[in-house]
Every structure is written in C-alpha cells, then in structure tokens.
Amino acid sequence: MPEKINCWEYRKCPEKTCPAYGRRDVFCWAISGNKGCLSGLEASNIFKKCLGCKVFHVNALTNPEHGFMGLINQLYVELEKSEAQHLLFRKITSLIHSTIELDKTLHVILTCVTAGYGLGFNRALLLMTDETGSFLEDRMMVAPESKEEAYRIWQNIAKLDVSAENLSELVNIYENSFKAKGKEYKPGKLALALNGTNIFTQCMKDKNALLCDYKYKDRVPGDFISFWGTDYFAVAPVLSGKRIKGLIVADNFFNNQEITREHINLLSEFAYHAGLAIENALFYEDLEKRAKELEKTNERLKEARQILMRTEKLIAIGEMAATVAHEMRTPLISIGGFAEIVRDKVKDNPEVYKHMEIIVGEVKRLERIIQDVLDFVKPFELTLTDINVKKVIESAVLITESGRKKHGNISIEVPEGFTSVKADEERLKQVLINLLDNALDSAKESKVCVSAKKEGGSFVLEIRDDGIGIKAEDAGKVIQPFFTTKKNGIGLGLPIAEKIVKEHKGTLSISSHTGGTVVRIELPFLEGKL
C-alpha cells in the first residue's frame, strides 16, 4: 500500500461535502497517518468525517503505527501547536499595544511570520503604500541570506522550546541572525505600481489574503520576481482601520514547502496585527507631534512673556530717561545761552574766551545727548508725506556738514526721473544725518557717497564710505544702543536710525570691510506725487 494515499480516491468516496474531497494534499488518517498534512481546525473538521469511515474504523483498531494511537498522538501535537500559536498571537497583540516603536513591532510581526510555531514561513516581506497610494514600497524584510544560513537559524530555534513565554528570546535570535535584513533592512529597493490587474492590486482591492501560484503567474510584476526570486508566495493585506496600508508577502523559498490554506489564513491574521501596529504607531506619532507643537507654543509664549517684561522695563526706563532729560534741558539752555553771551563779551581776553568756548561746546554736546535719548526712548508716529528725495538728501548733507570744518566730501547720486516717495521727511532726514555723520567720521579725508534708487518694490538708500571700516569684533554691536567707538558719541545714532527705518517697515543693513562701510536702507516703495 502506498504511504501517501488520498482517502477519497482510494475509497472512491462520493461524499462531496467532506473537506478532504478532491484534495491532493490530504491523506487518509488510517492508512498513511495523515502525516503533517493538515493542522488545526481543518484537521478536526476532516477528522469528524473520518469517524464515519469504515476504513478508518478497521484500521484504527488494527494498525498500531498509523492506527488510533498514532492519530491521537498527531492530534495532540496539532493541539499543542494551536495552543502555542494562540499564545503567540496573544503575546503579539499585547506587544503591539505596549510598544509605540513601529519598526520594532513590524519586525516582531515579520519574525513571527517566519518563526517555527508562528507560521513557519521561510521569508517575510512588508510592502507599504507610498503617500500617494499609487505605489507599493518595500519597508522591511525578514529572511535568511541562504539555505545554509536558514538551516543554522532554524537549528538554533529548534533547540529553543518556542512558545509565547520565550517570544522575546526568539525575537532576539531572529534580530541577531537577520540583522542585515530585518530591523536594519534598508528599504527603497522596490516601487511597484498599483495598477491594472497585478496580484498586489487585486489583493488590496479584495482586502483578502491570497496564494499566488501558477494561476496568477502572469500577474506578478517582473520587478518583483527579480527581487523576490519566485512567483509562488502568499500575500495578505495590512489594514489600518478601513484603509490599506500595505501587504505582507511570505513564502517558503528555501525548503519549498507547500503553502496551505491555513497558512494563508494565519498570515492574514498576522497582517491584521501589523495593521493595528501601524495604526497605533501613527496614533502615537500624531500624539507626539501634537505634544511637540504644544511644547513649542509654550516655549513661544514664554519668550513672548519675557519680551513683554523686557519691553515694559524698557518703557519704564524710557519714561524715566525722558523725564530726566527734560528736566536737565532747561538749566542747560540757561547755561549755554549765558555762556555764549559771556564768551562774546570776552573776545579780547583769549584765555577766558577759550574757556568759554569749551563751556559752550560741552553744553551743545549735552543738549545733543539729551535729544538723542529723547528720540530713542520716545514712541513716535510717522507722518507720511510726499517728499522730494533729492531735496531731503541735500538738506541732510547740508546739516551734517554745517558742524564740520571741511565741506564738499559728500556726493549725491539720485537717478534722473526719480523724484518723489512717501515717507516721514523729518525722520528720514534724521536717519541720513546720523548715518552721514558716522560715514564722515570714518572716511576722514576720503569721499562719502549717498545714493537713492528704486529696486523692485523697494526704495533703497545707500551710504558708502572708503573709511576704516568696522572692526570684526564690533560688527554685531554697532546697532546696539549706547555702543560707540567715538570719543564724543553716546552710541544712539545707529539705533535711532534703525528705529526710524523699522517704523517705515524697512530694513537697515551694514556691510563693512577694511576698505570701507556700506549702510543700506530698504523701505517699501510708496510712490509720491511731487
């Protein structure tokens, strides 16, 4: 009698409702011992039918090897295996719910797909859809390099009593053995278009696991075959909620074992868990993102509060400075005024005259400082009018030069036809005076050039000098209030200029090198009607 024999063929059984009917992978329990061809539920259903079979009855009582005890043993093994699988599933489920690291969870799932009591596939591959949903991309793979490696790993695993209790140990063996292809797997080797009738598209459309065998031969994309090496595999959809996130592909590439319906069902179960893991991970990712956003908002709020506190402090200081400056101004006017009167009366006494000149000069300096402080601390509103750019520049040049011994060092460049913009004339003049003052101080004898032009949507003013430039270590400080390199300055010229430019919603930038300095002011261009 042949070792493997199909009961329905052997007995010419007409019982078409029997789950074993017409199948070539199911062998007669009584004659061949039904060696390992079935497992779990399927086996128990077929076994129910066997109980009504005469051959089974006779053989079960007489054949010691394949008989009743053999059957009981086999069922016991099946039961144990089911129990182990059941436990494994529970373990995986709890793992999925306890870990938020997507890659780790996916790796565990793929590992279980290939573990002995898990599914016992040789290889497993996770494909995920890209953002547009039109491509499948490889995300992770668990597989031995070769038959030899597979054999070695399986031996390791065979030594281990694989059950839910030592799942983590199992995962460790897998992680260590499959490092190159598992957790450390570098995705991006595949991009399968999801179109037409290819098998992956169909699996995703049906939302059902399926076995890709000779029936689907023509529907496996060529790219995939050259990557995977075979067209015989099981594929199951990974669902997250109602949406399909990807597919798990698994096969027995190394031992060529047949993939049964039960394997497919189990793979489908694993894929479902993978979907849950992805959903979980996405949820946590989202949560983490929101938490980070919240943290950032909080950080910004804190900053804003600090700025507010600083601003309030500055306003208080400003008000105090303004009060002090005003109170000082009136006595200074008397001092300065009378000093001038006295000075003019002592013209014939050069020594006293010189002293009086010093008093008059110093009072002027103090008055200028007070004016600067007031300009800097006082909030102001712009009065925008149509101004003649050239005239404003000329007037600023005149005022700047009036206090100096040498005139004619400043050249003005305003293109023909560029006449009028809207701006605050007095403030703009002040900006120019402050900047020209700096430029002349720096330039010494060389030329200073002030130019105005329209550049795109901007009104650009530039003050260039060929002077000594700003020292590198001072570059960041020149715009700070009260920073000065001048003997007689208090360091408010540039900050005031910047404040006025900012009020105009413009920018002031300084570029400096050893050959000179360029200060560039860009204001939004508002055409004037002059």
């Binding site: 101004r329 200074l332 008397s334 300065g336 005024g337």
Partner: protein
C-alpha cells in the same frame, strides 16, 4: 524799534532772552504766565511773541487760541519749547514756527529776524 514779548515761566530763560534780544536792538517785554502775556499783548503794540508751551496757568496753545479769539490783530508767534511732540497739535499751526529750546540761540535769533522782516 521793534517790540518782542517773551512769555516763559523760567526766570533764567527770560533773563537770557532779554539780554540776548536787547543786544540785538529789540525792545523786550517779559511775562511769567499765560494771562500776564495776554494782558501785555492787549496793552502794547507787539511785533512778535516768543511763547513757551508749558506755562503755570495755561499752555502755549491756549494762549495762542485766546489771542486769535481776541479780535485784535495777532502778532506773529514763535512757539519755543523744551519739549518736542506738540508739532502735530492743530493750533500749533497758528504759530509762525515751532522751535525746540536750545542753549545755542542762533536759530531763535535767525527766526525772529526772518519773521519780523517778512512782516
């Protein structure tokens, strides 16, 4: 000889302006408060008023408004203040010029001269 009226609550400033403008050959009248200034303006023929803004009884703008409301011909007024910031108050435009007080009197002197010559 042209007559200037100086309205300022600061004793030293009044003295300073008096000496300065007398040296410039003007006749100078002094007032310490707004109402004193208005009184002097009503009784005398004044060619120009140098008016402080912060005064003990009223501010310079009010003095300006009352002068205009008096019906008499109003002499030109130079507002002269230690404070900037009033430039945009509407009644400031009743004045010829708005100056910020300074120990350097040349601007004030030049303005007085120009306004009187224009008149």
């Amino acid at each position: 000889m042209k007559t200037l009226l100086i309205v300022d609550d600061e004793e030293n400033i009044r003295q300073l302006y008096k000496e300065t403008f007398e040296a410039e050959k003007y006749k100078v009248l002094l007032a310490q408060t707004g109402s004193e200034g208005l009184e002097l303006a009503a009784k005398n023929k004044i060619d120009l008023i140098i008016l402080d803004i912060r005064l003990p009884d009223m501010n310079g703008m009010e003095v300006l408004e009352r002068l205009s409301a008096s019906g008499k011909e109003v002499p030109p007024v130079i507002l002269n203040s230690a404070y900037s910031g009033y430039e945009h108050v509407s009644s400031v435009w009743l004045a010829e010029k708005y100056l910020i007080k300074s120990g350097d009197l040349s601007e004030l002197k030049n303005t007085v001269r120009a306004v009187i010559e224009k008149k």
